[in-house]
């Protein structure tokens, strides 16, 4: 398996005033699992692409990169497949129309004869459990299957080093977990060297042997996870991306050995803090009265012959409230959102917006200062070549945006980071000054900084009396922003409550902070709650 050695690497993009990477040096030994973290724009992706010669960006480079002792400039063309690379979007990384062809693609490029392609493809399909969908169209796969296929079609070329640039960021939590576990399995069973960039570190960090931290292009930490996490004090932006236990450790201002997993977090809490005060005073502000959106036993299905997606959904969202709808894939969350936005109609029951049935809104009146929806993929919104034109065509007043975007105005929407795209799309959705805002997975694939920004914007809107319905897989985000959470399962609401109670009563569908505190403190949903309880109880030794 391959090892990497990077010596005094600096890199500057053409026309950029500042270098993106400055004097970076590190080694990754063969068989290591290394996580690379840093804020958006810190140069992580650039560093990773420089390690893969075929994808190296153009620019001024100095310093040396070598793969198992050979400088990468001296590698032969045929060595391209020694380094595997999987990036964010599962959909676009697939090249061909059939699963089997996708698996064979790298081997065809290497010029292997039929017989060996046949053998390797068969082997890889069996190892990854792809045999069942071997002859299917790649298009018919789910997001998680697509990303697994991308991984398999890289692995089939038997690389010794795997570079992963946020591979799980577009996947739902279950698929993301499966993907990362598969990577870990490859690392453990094959001795594959792995370098991973990820924003959601709850699962990835405990797998790592080492953590590299990049800050504005410079490598500032290179340590095992526990040690690295301990040293993050004073870097709130980086702590935001960390697992719950690490966040709790820093939020409580603890010293010493930093817990990384939930298990370690539980031990840490019980060893260090008393639990005389078991719960915070429940904020007992009553729910607002005015109903913005109501579902009254709504039934919906996509076709006559198909099964019901919504089965008597009852739900109400009040003005001045953030309502988070959680639930597994296919439970009907996104469909509920579609019905609320007037994109589909229930075949029985009704959906009312501000007391009026959705279907009674004629023409565009539903979307005029009333309802607006931010779709899951921000890129479905972009039409123009600058952010300014984008906002202008939606009718937004550029001088009175709900949050500053001036620094992005002249950029092309597709040149922005995922988080920035989301904020621009949100500004576009807010241009009509909606009183009911619908959001579909607003935190999918965005970094913690952008997440925090979205959170602030949503809170401000809520305080202005806007009703907000969010559909999400992100329990951490729901716990932080929601006034009310509901779990939807098989098209109906399984439970609905204020977040403290909602997460306290779930045992699996809950936040890391809640899992850590379970049995020690009650009604904890967020790390901030937990830290507050720790401080009040005291007992740091």
């Amino acid at each position: 398996m391959e090892s990497i050695a990077v010596q005094n690497l600096s890199f500057r993009y053409p026309d950029a005033p500042e270098p993106t990477l400055r004097d970076v040096s590190f080694r990754v030994e063969a068989g290591d699992f290394v996580v690379l973290i840093g804020e958006t724009g810190s140069g992580k992706s650039t560093l990773m692409r420089l390690l893969k010669r075929e994808l190296a960006p153009l620019g001024e480079r100095s310093g040396e990169i070598s793969l198992s002792g050979t400088p990468i400039e001296e590698l032969r063309d045929a060595d391209a497949c020694r380094v595997g690379y999987v990036a964010q979007r599962p959909e676009q990384q697939i090249v061909t129309d059939k699963v089997w062809h996708e698996l064979a693609f790298a081997l065809e490029n290497m010029g292997l004869p039929q017989a060996s392609i046949r053998r390797r493809v068969a082997e890889m399909a069996s190892y990854f459990g792809i045999a069942d969908w071997f002859e299917r169209d790649t298009h018919s796969l789910s997001g998680g299957q697509k990303q697994l296929l991308n991984l398999a079609s890289v692995m089939v070329a038997q690389p010794g080093l795997l570079l992963l640039d946020e591979p799980a960021s577009q996947l739902d939590p279950i698929a993301a977990g499966d993907f990362l576990n598969t990577v870990k399995k490859l690392n453990r069973e094959m001795g594959l060297t792995v370098l991973l960039i990820e924003h959601r570190l709850e699962e990835a960090l405990p797998m790592a042997d080492r953590v590299l931290v990049l800050e504005s292009g410079a490598l500032t930490l290179d340590l095992p996870p526990e040690a690295a996490c301990e040293r993050l004090r004073g870097h709130p932006a980086l702590i935001d991306a960390m697992p719950g236990a690490v966040r709790l450790f820093h939020a409580a201002g603890a010293r010493g050995r930093c817990p990384v997993t939930v298990r370690e977090g539980r031990r840490f809490l019980r060893e260090r803090y008393k639990n005389d005060i078991r719960a915070l005073d429940a904020s007992s502000a009553p729910r607002p009265e005015a109903r913005a959106l109501e579902f009254r036993s709504a039934y919906f299905r996509y076709g006559r012959e198909q099964a019901d997606v919504l089965r008597g959904l009852d739900l109400d969202v009040r003005a001045g409230e953030i309502f988070c709808l959680l639930g597994p894939n296919g439970s009907g969350k996104s469909t509920a959102l579609k019905l609320a936005a007037g994109l589909a109609r229930p075949y029985s029951g009704e959906v009312r917006v501000f007391g009026r049935r959705v279907r009674d809104y004629k023409g565009q009146s539903l979307y005029r200062e009333c309802v607006s929806m931010l779709p899951q993929d921000a890129q479905t919104v972009f039409l123009k070549s600058t952010v300014r034109d984008e906002l202008r065509e939606a009718g937004a007043e550029l001088s009175a945006l709900p949050y500053p975007l001036a620094h992005l105005m002249d950029r092309h929407p597709y040149d922005l980071s995922g988080g920035e795209q989301q904020l621009v799309a949100l500004a576009k959705a807010l241009a009509t000054k909606p009183k009911l805002l619908l959001l579909d997975e607003p935190t999918k694939g965005i970094d913690p900084h952008a997440k925090r920004k979205v959170l602030e914007v949503l809170r401000a809107l809520r305080d202005d009396g806007v009703a907000i319905l969010i559909v999400t897989h992100d329990v951490e985000f729901a716990a932080r922003c929601a006034d009310r959470c509901a779990l939807i399962f098989r098209g109906e609401i399984a439970s609905s409550d204020a977040p403290e109670r909602f997460f306290d009563e779930n045992s699996f569908y809950t936040t890391a902070a809640n899992r850590i505190c379970r049995g020690w403190y009650d009604g904890v949903a967020t790390v901030e709650d937990a830290a507050e309880l720790c401080r009040r109880n005291g007992g740091e030794t």
């Binding site: 075929e54 059939k98 290497m110 493809v121 565009q364 309802v371 929806m373 479905t380 619908l438």
Partner: protein, 292 residues
């Protein structure tokens, strides 16, 4: 033997193309009748439902063609009657019928072609000759359903932002142009991810080989040989003039002698074999099932 559907796509392609091609380019009533019967039999055995729907249509086309030609072509020695000062001739009617047979039978062959030659099979057939083009085709074929779905998402997104109006046709056209425009940006900008993914997997580093699910077995070779042998006899007979048929000025079908008879026989085999092979396979399966 095996049916064309189960055979290697190369053999199936060769067989269908030769069966359709010979009839298409030889205006001989006997060949055309054989071709029409053979293709109809094949479609009927292969997909009875499609045959029931398509065959009446082809028959109507045949009739239409037979009737139209005499209205335009007035040569021929046997006038039937006079219409608008122009003679309508028996020869022109025959010629129209031959043309109708040709059109109906080739449509019928291509209908079956469509059934069994799915896109992956066609890519396989042309893959060895045109590797780069077939790769582009494969990528494009993968993109089309993706774009179709994305278009739906974009339309929903634009509608829910109140930016997609559909009150009248002009609004609708503008709205769809808007959706298409978003789609174009999306596809072009993200295409670079696909290109990078190709590069990362070593595309362009050397000579590509080709992997295919289909194998070329002995029976496929046998199919190809038989098909080529039958076709070359039929073509030889046609080229020698033994199958010659004149429509004007007077309809005359060359007797053709022994070579002609052999030519007809070979073509008959070529045209009927696909249907018979398919039928035989159906029967075999029925027998197997009753034994299970």
């Amino acid at each position: 033997m095996i049916s064309l559907r189960e055979a290697n796509p190369f053999a199936a392609f060769l067989w269908l193309m030769l069966a359709a091609g010979i009839a298409m380019f030889c205006l001989n009533p006997v060949l055309l009748a054989l071709s029409l019967a053979g293709s109809a039999l094949y479609l009927a055995v292969r997909n009875p439902l499609a045959a029931r729907r398509a065959l009446p249509l082809y028959l109507a086309l045949f009739a239409l063609s037979a009737l139209i030609n005499p209205l335009f072509a007035h040569n021929g020695a046997t006038p039937l009657f006079v219409l608008n000062h122009n003679p309508v001739t028996l020869e022109a009617l025959f010629y129209g019928m031959a043309m109708g047979g040709m059109i109906a039978s080739s449509l019928c062959w291509f209908r079956s072609f469509q059934e069994i030659m799915t896109s992956d099979k066609l890519l396989y057939v042309f893959g060895s000759a045109l590797p780069k083009l077939t790769l582009i085709l494969s990528i494009a074929l993968r993109y089309i359903p993706l774009l179709r779905d994305q278009a739906k998402r974009v339309r929903d997104a634009q509608r829910a932002l109140g930016l997609f109006r559909e009150e009248n046709l002009i609004d609708r056209l503008r709205g769809e142009a808007r959706v298409f425009s978003v789609l174009v940006t999306w596809a072009l900008e993200n295409g670079i991810i696909t290109a990078d993914s190709m590069a990362a997997r070593g595309y362009g580093t050397g000579r590509r080989t080709r992997y295919a699910l289909f194998r070329f077995r002995g029976r496929d070779a046998a199919l190809c040989m038989i098909c080529l042998a039958l076709a070359s006899v039929a073509i030889a007979a046609a080229a020698s003039g033994a199958l010659r048929c004149d429509f004007y000025p007077r309809f005359r079908l060359n007797g053709g002698g022994a070579l002609g008879a052999v030519g007809y026989a070979c073509y008959a085999l070529l045209a009927f074999a696909p249907g018979i092979l398919e039928w035989e396979e159906n029967l075999r399966w029925r027998a197997l099932r009753s034994r299970i």
